[in-house]
Structures are given as structure tokens and as C-alpha cells.
């Protein structure tokens, strides 16, 4: 009896297998043609992700030099300047490598020392409202100043920065920002900054005269504004995905001409549909700019990284925020800061959604480089299918492959001052 059941069951399986095979082969060709057919609603989503929807660079009202070409040219030099570091070896470009989409290939970035997080890609960074993984600054120029005085990154101070500018970049600086005071090595303390983590530097800063402090701050802020003027020119070029959207909008239907393969298009369909990736990766930069806790493990031992939760008071109390005296913005020009969500608990362990443009060209992934490959990231999201905020549907291996294929189609070379200068 038992044998018979097994045999019967076996034949049922065999029959149903046959049905499956028939189902996937014959209508499969039809499916491939349908792969490039999109409903009006899907088309509007595709359009919203298209690089053409990016619009002009947003004005940064807090930085009146942000579109000043001379400031950007100076910023480009400062970006690659090794002198701005405790060991004369670290520049912005150390962790934001030009040959690596302006990030680096390390799980945790390394300047003077190893930092607790991964370097952020700078592609299209000017379209953000908040900067760093936790959004602890609200402008690109104030972001640029953070690492300079961070012990693990550049490890110098604003006084040293002002001194270097006055010594090596005086002419360029004065052309943009006006007269620069003489910062003499013997009158200006080398390491002075209003730092709570360095009592000696804090003491030196407090002992400076108010006029000196003001002068140093001004140069330091202008340095940040120059670097920001350069960094905001780092932009993505159209990717195969963008060309594909243009084809779809133009009514192209010849399959052989499509900029995406069938698998890539299937991945795109999952991306905007079943897999719900556009919940967070939306808009032409493929990010909503918001902060989410994915429940990722933390590699480094020690205090848990609170992410956005710790950054809320930091940005509100920052001496360089949009409402500070160093900002060029009117109070009404700072809506993000004005309406900042201060519900600390909501953001414990939350980090910013990063852009996906050129994502497959710049592993590793996540805020602390938790995953070495895109595939691992996709596997992680699949494993989190029961989490409502991360729910990406019940994805098969094949679908994961298609999603990965689509992500490759977001690659494109960069454009910007750097490229143009060559």
C-alpha cells in the first residue's frame, strides 16, 4: 500500500513537472516580448527614475559660492590636498577615490585611523538634503568640514587648515573671498578647535582672541564652501537604464534594439513592482534621502552605532548648520532643519538610503560595509521578507539574478569638473 502511494505520488509529480515545463517553454517567448511592454502607470514610475527627471542642480542657499567656477576650481585642488592631514597623506580623495566612483573599496574607511563607517559615494550628492550616513550636517559645505577635524579621518584642525590655505592657496582664495589675514605659525596655535573630544585643542581654541577665532572660522567655512562647489559637480551620466526609459517613452518596440536585455528588464519590473525597491530607492538618484534601520549587524565591537538618532541634536546644534551665522541662507531657506523630525527613538540605528547609480561598480555595501557583493545585499533583503518595511516579496533565485542584472544597468561614467579638466 505504502509503496503504491509513493509510486502514485511520484507519477503525480512527474505529470505536474511536465506541465511546468510546457508552461515555461511555449509561452516563454511571449513573455520575453512582453518584457518590454509597460502600463502607463509603470511608465510614469520609469520616468520618475530616469536621469532626465533629475532637474538642474538644486541651489544651496547656505553657500553663495556653490556655483562659482573659481570656488569649484579651488575646491578641486583642496579635495586632493594631502597637506590637510595629520600625516600629510590623507586627502578627501583618500576615501572618495576618483577611480572608484568617489568612494573606496573598504568596509570601513581608513584615514588617519579606521573609521566606524563606510565612505559614502559622492555621485549626485548635491541632490541630498542631509549628508553623511546619519545626516548630521544639512549642507555639503558643512559636511566637507567634518572629516578635517575628525581624528580618524584627516586629524587636523581649523587653525592648521587656515594656515595651509594662507600659505599655499592665498591668491586663489583672495580672488574669490577677498583679503586673507596673515596666519603666522607663531601666533596661531596649530591644533585649536572647539572640540569636546580633545581638551588640549579646545583649550588652545578658547585662549585665542575672539577676532582670531572669527577669522579662522571664516577661512575654514570658505574652504568647505569651495570643496562643496567642486563636489556638487560630480554627477552621473545616463546609464543603459536611462537610455532604455527614453526608448520606452519614444515607443521603441524592437526587442533587439532595447538598451536592456530581457533579464535586466525583468529585474527592472521587479524593482518597481513585486520587490518594492522603489519604496526607498525612488526618484532619479534612486534614493528617498530618508533614514531607515535595516537591522544590520555591527562589525565593530563597542558602542552600538545609533545612526540618525545621534545626528539629530548634532545637526541642530551645529555651528555650521543652515541657520548658523556662517550660512548664507535666510531662515526661511532652511525647511529641512526647521521641520526636522526630532523623534529620536524612531531613528535609532537608522542610516540614509544611498543612491544606486553605478552601485555594482563600487562594493562593499551598507553603512559599515557589511556585504561584499550586491548578491549578498539582495539575499539579505530576501531574508528580511517578513519585515514590513523591508518586505521585498517572495523572490526566487531567478528573480534575484534578474534584479542583480538590472542593477548593473545603472552603471555609467561620471561627469563633472574633474573629468572636464582632463
Amino acid at each position: 500500500m505504502r509503496n503504491f502511494l509513493v509510486r502514485t505520488f511520484g507519477s503525480v509529480v512527474a505529470v505536474s513537472l511536465l506541465v511546468i515545463v510546457v508552461n515555461t517553454t511555449v509561452p516563454g517567448t511571449v513573455l520575453a516580448m512582453d518584457q518590454h511592454t509597460w502600463t502607463d502607470q509603470e511608465k510614469s514610475i520609469l520616468r520618475s527614475l530616469w536621469i532626465g527627471s533629475l532637474g538642474p542642480l538644486p541651489v544651496d542657499p547656505s553657500n553663495r559660492y556653490s556655483d562659482n567656477p573659481k570656488a569649484a576650481a579651488l575646491g578641486r585642488k583642496l579635495f586632493f590636498e594631502d597637506h590637510f592631514s595629520g600625516n600629510m597623506k590623507v586627502s578627501c580623495a583618500t576615501c572618495h577615490r576618483e577611480d572608484y566612483f568617489f568612494t573606496d573599496n573598504l568596509p570601513l574607511s581608513h584615514g588617519m585611523d579606521t573609521t566606524p563607517r563606510r565612505s559614502m559615494p559622492l555621485i549626485g550628492v548635491a541632490y541630498n538634503s542631509w549628508f553623511f550616513w546619519d545626516g548630521r550636517t544639512d549642507s555639503l559645505w558643512s559636511q566637507a568640514l567634518g572629516p578635517i577635524e575628525n581624528k580618524r579621518e584627516h586629524g587636523i584642525s581649523r587653525t592648521m587648515s587656515a594656515y595651509i590655505i594662507s600659505k599655499y592657496y592665498r591668491k586663489e582664495y583672495e580672488e574669490i573671498f577677498g583679503p586673507l589675514p596673515d596666519f603666522m605659525e607663531d601666533t596661531l596655535p596649530q591644533h585649536a578647535r572647539p572640540a569636546l573630544d580633545d581638551p588640549d585643542a579646545l583649550k588652545a581654541w578658547v585662549l585665542m582672541t575672539p577676532v582670531q577665532r572669527e577669522e579662522v572660522n571664516k577661512v575654514y567655512v570658505n574652504m568647505g564652501k569651495s570643496i562643496a562647489a567642486f563636489v556638487r559637480t560630480i554627477l552621473p551620466q545616463p546609464s543603459p537604464f536611462d537610455r532604455y526609459v527614453e526608448q520606452i517613452m519614444a515607443g521603441e518596440s524592437l526587442r533587439s534594439r532595447m538598451a536592456l536585455t530581457d533579464d535586466e528588464a525583468a529585474g527592472l519590473r521587479l524593482f518597481i513592482g513585486k520587490a518594492k525597491c522603489t519604496n526607498c530607492h525612488n526618484g532619479p538618484m534612486f534614493t528617498n534621502g530618508d533614514f531607515h534601520n535595516l537591522g544590520l549587524s555591527q562589525k565593530e565591537k563597542g558602542e552600538p552605532d545609533k545612526g540618525r538618532a545621534a545626528a539629530i541634536t548634532q545637526v541642530l546644534s551645529s555651528e555650521f548648520n543652515c541657520l548658523s551665522k556662517h550660512s548664507d541662507a535666510e531662515p526661511n531657506d532652511c525647511p529641512e532643519l526647521r521641520f526636522i523630525d526630532t523623534s529620536h527613538k524612531k531613528y535609532v540605528g537608522a542610516f540614509k538610503t544611498p543612491t544606486l547609480r553605478s552601485v555594482t561598480d563600487r562594493p562593499p555595501y551598507m553603512h559599515a560595509g557589511q556585504f561584499a557583493t550586491v548578491r549578498e545585499v539582495l539575499e539579505f533583503y530576501r531574508s528580511e521578507a517578513q519585515n514590513p518595511e523591508l518586505g521585498h516579496g517572495d523572490l526566487s533565485d531567478k528573480e534575484l539574478e534578474q534584479l542583480e542584472a538590472f542593477l548593473h544597468a545603472l552603471s555609467s561614467p561620471l561627469t563633472g569638473l574633474l573629468v572636464e579638466a582632463k
Binding site: 502514485t8 503525480v12 522603489t278 530618508d290 526647521r338 521641520f339 526630532t342 535609532v348 514590513p388
Partner: protein, 300 residues
């Protein structure tokens, strides 16, 4: 052979049926409240009366009852459909004296808490007294799935006591996981003008500068009128955004400013950071009446 196939088929059918039934029952239980000290609530549910030596007549058959920690009050918690869900919930609480009798005019505070995550929610539940010891609690927002607790504090005439109701597994939008990612109900009402829940006010919203768009800080204009259609200019208004499918709110804290005329209010700092179904709940407090209304939006 053919007969065997049928038998196998029937067996499969039966097995599948059983599994489905089990799942349903389990789903039903998981979201239900459990006593903080095991057994207490179950006893309350089964018996309908009595906690040891205390006699209380329950108002509802299907409610959850608990004594407050210092045994001052006995609380009945009525959860619609018997389970709390992720998103916005409305519950009812009946407060009895531990010695029997309803407690009116008490100050009730309800605080949702997620013990495993160590956080609560930004949105404050709104308690309205309905008389006869009955209090309705609106806007109980559980921001994610998982283990939640509701702390209910009762204060009257300087005597304060509280108790915690435990919800070990709050799920999204229903019992089954399959529901979790379900699209919004098909017949969702996207009206931009509605009466508040108790018909005290009419509220109309419009997005200033055209259609609501994702990821942009923008402003809304509200028009608030009373039930007779007269503009209400002196209201205190709060606004909360929520994504029922994902269990989180707006990425901003909007501000409401009264224009002082024609029942107009301006809401600055609105921002939606995810596409899809949003529920924006506007609570209006004016002339001693508190009422609220929820609008559905499909953000693209």
C-alpha cells in the same frame, strides 16, 4: 490507479485544510493580549467576572480585563476584532473601581511601548470620555510589527494606578503574512474633504502648489468648519502621517498655523518619502470638542 489518485488528492486536500485552519487560529491568538502575569487575562476572558476576591461586572463579553498594579481599578480593554494591528488602532477602555462601579472623569493616559526595541511612538493616543466609565482611545499608532505593550494609567482625585497590557505579536493589517504587503483596499476613499469621526467638524485639505509629490517639503492649506458649516478659526490642530503598510510616519514634523479667518490653516513641512498609500490624520480641538479625521493619499 485512478482511484488511488483520488484518495491521494483527498488526503492532500484534508491536510491542506487542516494546516490552513491551524494557521488561522494561531494568527488569531498571537495578536491578542496576554496577561502580564500569565493566566490572569485568560481567566478574565473565560469567566467574565472576578479577579480573586474582587467582583466586577464586565460590560463586554470579548474584552480583556486586568487589575491595575496597586489594585485600585479594574480595566476592561476592548480591541476591535480582538487584535491590535500595526498602524492606527482605536480601542475602548472601561474603568471600574476595584470594588465595583464605573469610574467617570478620570485622567487616562495610554502609552504604547515596544519593550524589545526600547521605544514608543511619536503619536500620542487621544483619549475621549464617553460616559459610564467608558473611554475611547483613538490614534493608538503601533509603528511596526512585533511585541508591543500598552501602559494604561488611570488618575482620579490624586489616586493614580496603572497596568500594562501585553501584545506579544502585533502583525500588519490582519492575521496572515500574505496580507502584509497587500495593496490598499480597492474602495479606498481619497476624498480631500471629510467630516471628522464624530461629525463635529468638516475638514478639507489641499496641497499648496498643486499635486502632492514625493520627497518634497511642501505646504497644505486646511479649511475647518463646524457641523453647521461655520468656519472654525480657533482650533488646535495636529497632523500625523502614517503608512499603514510599512508602519512609519512622515520624515518631518509639520507645523500648523491658523490664518485667523475663514477657517483656514496652513500646514508647513509636509513631506512623504515613500510612494504608495498614506493616511494623514488631522485632529481638531475647538470649543471643548476634540475630533479627528483621516485622509487617504496615494503618493507618487
Amino acid at each position: 490507479m485512478k482511484r488511488m489518485l483520488i484518495i491521494v488528492g483527498v488526503m492532500f486536500f484534508l491536510l491542506a485544510g487542516c494546516a490552513a485552519k491551524e494557521e488561522q487560529t494561531a494568527g488569531h491568538m498571537e495578536g491578542m493580549a496576554e496577561g502580564h502575569s500569565q493566566g490572569e487575562v485568560m481567566e478574565g476572558m473565560a469567566e467574565g467576572h472576578g479577579h480573586g476576591d474582587v467582583k466586577v461586572t464586565k460590560h463586554f463579553d470579548e474584552s480583556l480585563t486586568k487589575l491595575t498594579d496597586n489594585k485600585l481599578y479594574s480595566l476592561e480593554l476592548v480591541v476591535p476584532e480582538k487584535y491590535m494591528k500595526m498602524g492606527v488602532n482605536t480601542i475602548e477602555i472601561i474603568v471600574h473601581h476595584a470594588t465595583g462601579g464605573d469610574v467617570a472623569q478620570a485622567d487616562i493616559t495610554v502609552t504604547p511601548w515596544m519593550p524589545s526595541m526600547g521605544h514608543g511612538v511619536m503619536q500620542k493616543p487621544v483619549v475621549t470620555e464617553r460616559g459610564g466609565g467608558l473611554y475611547s482611545v483613538d490614534n493608538v499608532v503601533l509603528s511596526m510589527t512585533g511585541h508591543w505593550q500598552l501602559q494604561v494609567k488611570v488618575a482620579k482625585e490624586g489616586k493614580e494606578d496603572s497596568v500594562v497590557f501585553d501584545f506579544p505579536e502585533v502583525k500588519a493589517m490582519g492575521h496572515e503574512h500574505a496580507m502584509m504587503h497587500a495593496p490598499p483596499p480597492k474602495d479606498l476613499d481619497y476624498a480631500t474633504m471629510k467630516m471628522t469621526a464624530s461629525d463635529a467638524f468638516s475638514v478639507m485639505y489641499k496641497s499648496i502648489g498643486g499635486q502632492v509629490r514625493i520627497n518634497r517639503i511642501h505646504s497644505w492649506e486646511l479649511t475647518v468648519k463646524d457641523a453647521e458649516g461655520h468656519p472654525v478659526n480657533n482650533a488646535e490642530i495636529t497632523i500625523v502621517g502614517d503608512m499603514p503598510e510599512h508602519g512609519h510616519g512622515l520624515p518631518t514634523q509639520p507645523e500648523v498655523t491658523g490664518m485667523g479667518m475663514e477657517g483656514l490653516y496652513r500646514v508647513d513641512g509636509m513631506k512623504f518619502q515613500m510612494p504608495g498609500w498614506w493616511v494623514v490624520t488631522i485632529s481638531v480641538m475647538a470649543n471643548g470638542i476634540q475630533d479627528n479625521v483621516s485622509f487617504n493619499l496615494n503618493v507618487m
